[in-house]
Amino acid sequence: MVKALRQFKKGILDENPIFSQAIALCPVLAVTTSIVNGIGLGLATLAVLLASTLVVCFIRHFIPAQVRIPCFIVVSATFTTVVSLLMEAFFPALNDALGIFIPLIVVNCLILARMEAFAAKNPPLAVAFDSLGMGLGFTLALAAIGAVRELMGFGTVFGLAVIPEAIPRNILMILPPGGFFVLAFLIVAARAVRARVGKGEA
């Protein structure tokens, strides 16, 4: 159980997909103009990640090594379709906001990386915790970037105005360069936190 917990924890800070591994950055920079968008894409990715890594884990002995990547894609495409249809039915507004980036979860390199590097080599329980941790770390990172950009760019938090109308909004934060700036500064912050946490344990 301790081991499983460690699998879960590493995805949040030490091996955070965004702040440490710096993978799957394309959707991260594209959709994080608000907290809700960030959490939405994060949770959708988490659902696909968890389901598809578990399936890959169960069928890992039947997949021929030479064609494993196409097999992984088929699995993640299946669950992406499910998630995409569910979101279209229950969260149409969010689905519109995220647009193409929901179907693109299929080729999200976080999912491929976890399937290839972890799910195909480990038992189901470890895979479940690993995927939960990675997915949650991904969601938290997206929410953090979205929070900063939404606050500075629109002056709102979760859509509620917190900065007076009189102060001009920083439009740059909504534009793609703002995503890069915020991501860079949050990576610095995450490294600082990691250094401090690491020192405390040592």
């Binding site: 001009p168 920083n170 439009i171 740059l172 934060m173 534009l175 360069p177 700036f181």
Partner: protein, 323 residues
């Protein structure tokens, strides 16, 4: 005890008096007339913007160097120059907190994160202005105020904005006002005479060489003469040279050492690129003014220019068939 007749030392034996402090001091002296005239024309608000911009640039530099545990080098004056240059290219009616954001962008994002003085790949002040323009497009466009002494003190658009929208033609324009700086525009860019005086001072003290400013302004003039959509007109060419930030950019921005080529030929290429891009933006682009973007774009080409145009190694002969 008798002094020895000769002194034994290691090389170099001849040292120039050049130092960062001296260069920065000369640039400040050269910018002073334009800054003073900016305050005269645009009032005490311009003075506030200059003070806020310079103070916050110096503070951000010191703060970053403290936090990054680097030697604090604010006394070299480079942050003062960056802050002053930034203020001089901002509209005088800007909200007073915006220069602080700009100074952060210039000093922290563009200068210090890339390694500090001499390592910036873009001109910090211009990059900060471009970022403010992207972030706060509306205040950056509507904050131009007419000079207090102008005959029609209600107009707030700059001459280049009026040219862009076609409300104004240079024929019969008040060239004397443009030359003195008694027109709308950024704080330090309007007065051609003050900027030229500062430019000549920098040339005379050898802080800058003539290559970039001359090729910049000349190529802009030639391009305007050849390709202005309404055909050649001496007045149009002359007005474009005086209006906007062309002179400020050519003498003070494009000549920034780390973001301009090393060799004379490279400098001329760089200046011609700046001049042509400036006028392409002014005459054909969507913005009324193109100096800032032209210099920023050419800044990016500097490594390439320096790679292909190299000075001859001393004593090496030119290859046969080459000059």
């Amino acid at each position: 005890m008798e002094q020895p007749r000769y002194i034994v030392t290691t090389t170099p034996h001849i040292r120039s008096r050049d130092s960062i402090e001296r260069t920065m001091l000369f640039v400040l002296i050269a910018l002073a007339p334009a800054a003073v005239l900016g305050v005269v024309f645009f009032g005490v608000r311009a003075l506030f913007i200059i003070l806020i911009s310079v103070t916050s640039a110096v503070c951000f530099e010191a703060l970053y160097q403290k936090l990054a545990r680097k030697p604090v080098t604010v006394t070299d004056g480079s942050a003062v120059v960056t802050g002053l240059l930034l203020a001089l290219i901002l509209p005088p009616g800007l909200p007073l907190w915006m220069p602080v954001v700009g100074a952060f962008a210039a000093i922290v994002l563009v200068k210090q994160l890339f390694g500090g003085l001499g390592h910036n790949f873009l001109n910090p002040a211009l990059a900060a202005r471009a970022m403010l323009m992207a972030a706060y497009a509306l205040p950056m466009t509507v904050s131009f105020t007419a000079p207090r002494t102008a005959p029609d003190a209600t107009a707030s658009a700059t001459p280049l904005m009026l040219l862009e929208s076609g409300e104004f033609t240079p024929a019969g324009a008040d060239f004397l006002a443009s030359f003195l700086g008694n027109v709308g525009g950024s704080i330090g860019e309007t007065s051609a005479v003050a900027l030229l005086a500062g430019g000549v001072f920098l040339l005379a003290t050898k802080v800058i060489s003539w290559h970039i400013p001359v090729s910049f302004i000349a190529s802009a003039a030639v391009f305007t003469a050849l390709f202005h959509p309404e055909g050649f007109s001496g007045e149009v060419v002359g007005y474009h040279m005086l209006a906007g930030g062309l002179i400020l950019g050519a003498f003070f921005m494009a000549t920034d050492y780390p973001t301009s080529p090393v060799t004379p030929l490279g400098k001329i290429l760089f200046g011609v690129g700046c001049g042509v891009i400036t006028m392409v933006i002014r005459l054909y682009g969507g913005f009324p003014e193109g100096v800032a973007y032209a210099i920023l774009l050419m800044n990016l080409t500097v490594p390439l220019i320096d790679r292909y145009i190299r000075p001859h190694v001393l004593g090496k002969r030119a290859k046969a068939g080459q000059p």
